[in-house]
């Protein structure tokens, strides 16, 4: 032993320089970890000027269209500026957004799936539910319109024409607000969709539009996402303006009883921020520069529903 050990060390020492440089990569990686530590600490703890006394991080579970359209990129920094809260938007379908709220994994929910939202409120999962903004859904499809939907008197009738002609239709199939509306329209038209012409994409609105475009298929889209993609698509708006296609976005605060760490104050602050006249004005102007038309109509407390664009009674529950 005593004679063996020094020999071993000599060998080690001779090649030590090379061996150490081998660990360059590992050292780099550890350095990266350290460099990130302040950021991690900040995001996990948060000790800057806090609004009120609660945590300054607010998790928003939202429908994808608010992120895909770019609206959140405008609202998130503004919300921080106005209130000091850090908003963390998690973009999922409306169904999943409500599910996150139900579990208390989010503090506030932005959704556009009225029936599901009403069920959410009825079950006591929400603190407050208010209308924020609106746009509308459009039925889009190939220019040639093989099912002849553009002559239909209503959206449901157009859907029936698609099913009747068995031309391809792409469904979101993801329990999003758009999917919920689609299912409602099928129900209204008395059709249980299925068969080789009916595809469920299981993806967001943008991807679904791309798939529909690729397959010369019809699909239902919110106008905002369609406008943002229109230049790249051969699809056209074929049916619009039906009252059933009104798309109302609601903000719902989460009942603190839903989970262990719901940031009630933060959720309320975001609700207040969205309904604030200054924010409403920004929402109303969003998209004008990029698309030549606004993507959303500000609609705090259903203010936008009353104007007689479509002759219908002012609804408390618009599309039930």
């Amino acid at each position: 032993m005593a004679t063996g050990e020094p020999a071993f060390r000599v060998v080690c020492g001779r090649r030590g320089g090379q061996v150490h440089s081998w660990f360059l990569a590992a050292t780099l990686a550890v350095g990266a970890l350290l460099a990130m530590a302040p950021g991690l600490a900040r995001s996990a703890v948060g000790q800057e000027a806090t609004p009120g006394t609660g945590p300054r991080e607010v998790i928003l579970a939202t429908t994808t269209s608010t992120q895909d359209s770019g609206l959140l990129d405008v609202l998130v920094p503004l919300f921080h500026e106005r209130t000091g809260y850090d908003l963390k938007p998690i973009a999922v379908g409306s169904g999943a957004a409500l599910e996150l709220g139900e579990r208390g994994e989010a503090d506030v929910v932005l959704a556009h799936s009225p029936a599901a939202e009403e069920a959410f409120v009825a079950a006591g999962f929400a603190g407050e539910r208010r209308t924020v903004m609106a746009n509308d859904f459009v039925l889009v499809g190939p220019k040639a319109d093989p099912a002849g939907t553009s002559g239909a008197a209503s959206a449901a009738e157009a859907m029936a024409a698609i099913a009747g002609a068995e031309v391809p239709f792409v469904s979101r199939g993801d329990e999003s607000g758009t999917h919920a509306l689609e299912l409602r329209l099928w129900e209204e038209s008395g059709i249980a969709p299925g068969g080789s012409w009916y595809t469920e994409s299981g993806t967001g609105m943008g991807d679904t539009l791309n798939i529909a475009d690729d397959r010369d298929a019809y699909t239902l889209a919110d106008r905002g996402t369609f406008l943002s993609l229109r230049d790249r698509l051969d699809l056209e708006i074929l049916v619009e303006g039906d009252r059933a296609l009104l798309n109302l976005y609601h903000v719902l605060t989460v009942n603190p009883a839903n989970g262990p760490a719901v940031n009630v104050e933060g959720g309320r602050a975001f609700l207040g921020f969205l309904l604030d006249p200054a924010t409403q004005e920004i929402i109303g102007g969003f998209g004008l520069d990029r698309f030549g038309e606004a993507l959303f109509t500000p609609c705090a407390d259903d203010a936008c529903v009353v104007p007689a664009v479509t002759p219908a009674p002012p609804p408390a529950t618009p599309a039930a």
């Binding site: 032993m1 005593a2 004679t3 063996g4 050990e5 020999a7 071993f8 080690c12 090649r15 090379q18 061996v19 440089s21 081998w22 360059l24 990569a25 590992a26 780099l28 990686a29 550890v30 990266a32 970890l33 460099a35 990130m36 950021g39 991690l40 995001s43 996990a44 945590p55 991080e57 998790i59 994808t64 992120q67 895909d68 359209s69 770019g70 959140l72 990129d73 998130v76 963390k88 938007p89 998690i90 973009a91 579990r103 208390g104 994994e105 967001g204 609105m205 943008g206 991807d207 539009l209 791309n210 943002s228 993609l229 230049d231 790249r232 989970g259 262990p260 760490a261 719901v262």
Partner: protein, 231 residues
């Protein structure tokens, strides 16, 4: 195909213009993946070396587990880490969900079996007489393991490359536990998914080009290091 070329042009333009957001995404991707790779090395190398050198009951199933783990589906790992980190989950009190730390954790879980498996193969690939000789020279157990790992450094570098490559290109877990939050957890892969959804294919292609360049750059650096040792 026009879009591809325009996308590549866009990539050059975005980087050259010093676009803060894009550079932020690039740096964030690199830091998160390097940190995850570092963690996976810390765990995977000892596990791999241990499995290669030790003989104990249950070793074979453990080796099988490591090998199976080399193909862990990232979305599955993302879901598991989400369940752990949810506010209502066992680690919810840490408040880590939707932070870079959560992404490092998920990616480290993905990379650790890869590193362990390749370490195992690397150490097992050594001449068994080397170990005997080291012991004959009076090396302690720790010295033996250390020396064997040094001997296996070339294939070990391949383990680093494979681990890093797996995590920087991964999107399923990153989007699930990170949430793709702008300025915080948005990395190259998740930003690409978002831009495709938005129909900004050129930006998406640009981000992918940057990701490829980054992966290639890091891999090349490690490979040069590896091959230099050979000569």
């Amino acid at each position: 195909m026009d879009e591809l070329w325009r996308g590549l042009g866009e990539a050059g333009r975005l980087l050259a213009s010093g676009d803060g957001e894009v550079w932020g995404i690039v740096v964030r991707s690199l830091l998160i993946s390097l940190a995850a790779t570092a963690v996976s090395l810390g765990l995977g190398v000892p596990v791999g070396a241990g499995l290669a050198l030790a003989r104990f009951r249950g070793r074979a199933p453990m080796v099988g587990l490591v090998h199976a783990g080399m193909g862990l589906p990232p979305v599955g790992v993302g879901l598991l880490v989400s369940l752990l980190l949810w506010r209502s989950g066992p680690l919810g009190g840490l408040g880590l969900l939707y932070t870079p730390a959560a992404m490092v954790l998920a990616q480290a879980i993905i990379a650790t079996p890869i590193v362990a498996g390749l370490t195992l193969a690397a150490v097992q690939g050594l001449d068994p007489r080397l170990r005997l000789q080291l012991q004959a020279l009076g090396a302690s157990r720790a010295q033996t393991v250390g020396w064997l790992l040094r001997e296996a450094r070339l294939p070990l570098l391949a383990a680093v490359i494979a681990g890093f490559g797996a995590v920087i290109s991964e999107v399923g877990a990153a989007i699930m536990v990170g949430g793709n939050i702008r300025g915080e957890t948005r990395v190259l892969t998740t930003a690409t998914v978002l831009e495709v959804g938005r129909g900004n294919f050129e930006v998406a292609i640009a981000l992918t080009a940057v990701l490829l360049a980054l992966t290639f750059g890091v891999t090349l650096a490690l490979t040069l290091l590896q091959q230099q040792r050979r000569s």
